[in-house]
């Protein structure tokens, strides 16, 4: 039986390539894609979504209601009040749309970031499991070796006991092949098994 060689347990070319490509892709992600998410985070926090939508709503309202001044409008008792009411309602709609879009983007950023954090957490869990399994395998291998040593020692002691019994028996029968002395009786009787 040949001894196991460490070279037999080396990583295969496939495994090395998998690790290399994965690491390169991970680095690329961190350099190129992660900044995009932080960029969206900043944009979703600082950009004036509401201002843009409200400005557009205001422009539309004023184009529709005050684009063509007329004598009738100037004499009307309630046209200005109607304009104030309509413009206020339109501005509110603009703000609502802007805020909804902003919250949507912010939630999207958080979901993605949380997804990455969850991936990191499950990755750590996986890494810990790999490490734990390895530790257990090492411990089990050590234990197997200890067990084998004990088995060998027990077998040896058992055999010595049998030898002693046999030698004592031969001594009682005054047989010349019996070993004499305590330690010699632990060995097989002379001439036997040779």
């Amino acid at each position: 039986m040949s001894k196991p060689k460490s070279s037999e347990y080396k990583a295969s070319e496939q495994e090395k390539a998998l690790a290399s490509v994965s690491l390169a892709e991970k680095n690329y992600f961190r350099q190129k894609y992660l900044p995009k998410l932080t960029q969206l985070r900043d944009r979703a926090s600082t950009e004036d979504y509401e201002g843009v939508a409200t400005g557009r709503a205001q422009a539309d309202t004023m184009q529709a209601l005050s684009g063509r001044p007329s004598l009738a409008a100037a004499r009307s008792v309630d046209s200005a009040a109607d304009m104030a009411s309509a413009a206020g309602a339109q501005a509110l709609q603009g703000r609502v749309q802007g805020l909804t879009a902003q919250r949507g983007d912010q939630v999207n950023v958080l979901k993605n970031a949380r997804g990455m954090a969850a991936d990191a957490q499950s990755g750590l869990s996986k890494a810990a499991r790999i490490s734990s399994t390895k530790q257990l395998q090492f411990a089990q291998a050590k234990q197997n070796r200890r067990n084998a040593n004990f088995r060998a020692a027990t077998q040896l002691v058992g055999q010595m006991g049998e030898n002693r019994q046999e030698n004592l028996g031969l001594q009682d029968a005054e047989n010349d092949q019996a070993n004499k002395g305590f330690f010699s009786t632990l060995l097989p009787p002379q001439g036997l098994g040779q």
Binding site: A80, S85, L92, A118, D119, A139, R146, T154, L168
Partner: protein, 193 residues
């Protein structure tokens, strides 16, 4: 020649490849340590880049900003309407309105403006509530995911600890059994059993 037609081997595949990008890839000598380091780094990245953002967003569920801004908007719209009305009257040389008609126009604008303010205020409260509720729902969904993955991580950790403890106990029991076996054999030898 097709790659998987049985006549194509790795050597041919390499020969046909125009540029070998893999030769410039990083060499991973210890994938296990690299994996652990990267996942740790990912978590650190998350804390550095997104934790403040997350906490700010969590604090937005009781936001009242829309209501306040809508009120300001309505005030501005009332002022603009008053100014537009004034300019129109001036543009038409008083538009042939009597003082009584002018006063009535102003009162109407004032009343309309106040009604618009009440309307905007009420609508903005409803809209703000809807937006806050939508955000709350999204955050609850995200929180469920956080809770789930953290429980799963803790479950994994506890499972691994239990497995290690069981292995240790098992090893101790085996050791004890081995020692007993050896002791009995030795005793048997000395006692001549």
């Amino acid at each position: 020649m097709a790659l998987y037609d049985g006549l194509y081997n790795t050597k041919d595949y390499r020969r046909d490849a125009q540029t070998d990008y893999t030769s410039s890839l990083p060499n991973v000598s210890d994938p296990e340590a690299t994996y652990a380091a990267i996942t740790r780094q990912d978590y650190n990245d998350y804390i550095n880049n997104f934790r403040d953002f997350e906490e700010r967003l969590l604090g937005q569920t009781d936001d009242q900003g829309l209501i306040n801004r809508a009120r300001e908007d309505q005030k501005t719209q009332n002022r603009i309407a008053r100014e537009v009305q004034q300019r129109n009257i001036e543009r038409y040389g008083g538009a042939g309105l009597s003082n009584a008609q002018r006063q009535q126009q102003q009162r109407t604008l004032q009343r309309g403006g106040q009604l618009a303010m009440a309307n905007t205020s009420n609508n903005s409260r409803i809209q703000q509530r809807e937006i806050n509720n939508a955000l709350l729902n999204e955050l609850i969904g995200i929180g469920q995911g956080v809770n789930q993955s953290s429980l799963s991580g803790l479950g994994d950790a506890s499972g691994m600890a239990a497995q290690r403890q069981a292995a240790y106990k098992n090893a101790k029991a085996q050791h004890h059994s081995n020692m007993t076996g050896l002791g009995v054999a030795a005793l048997g030898m000395f006692l001549g059993i």
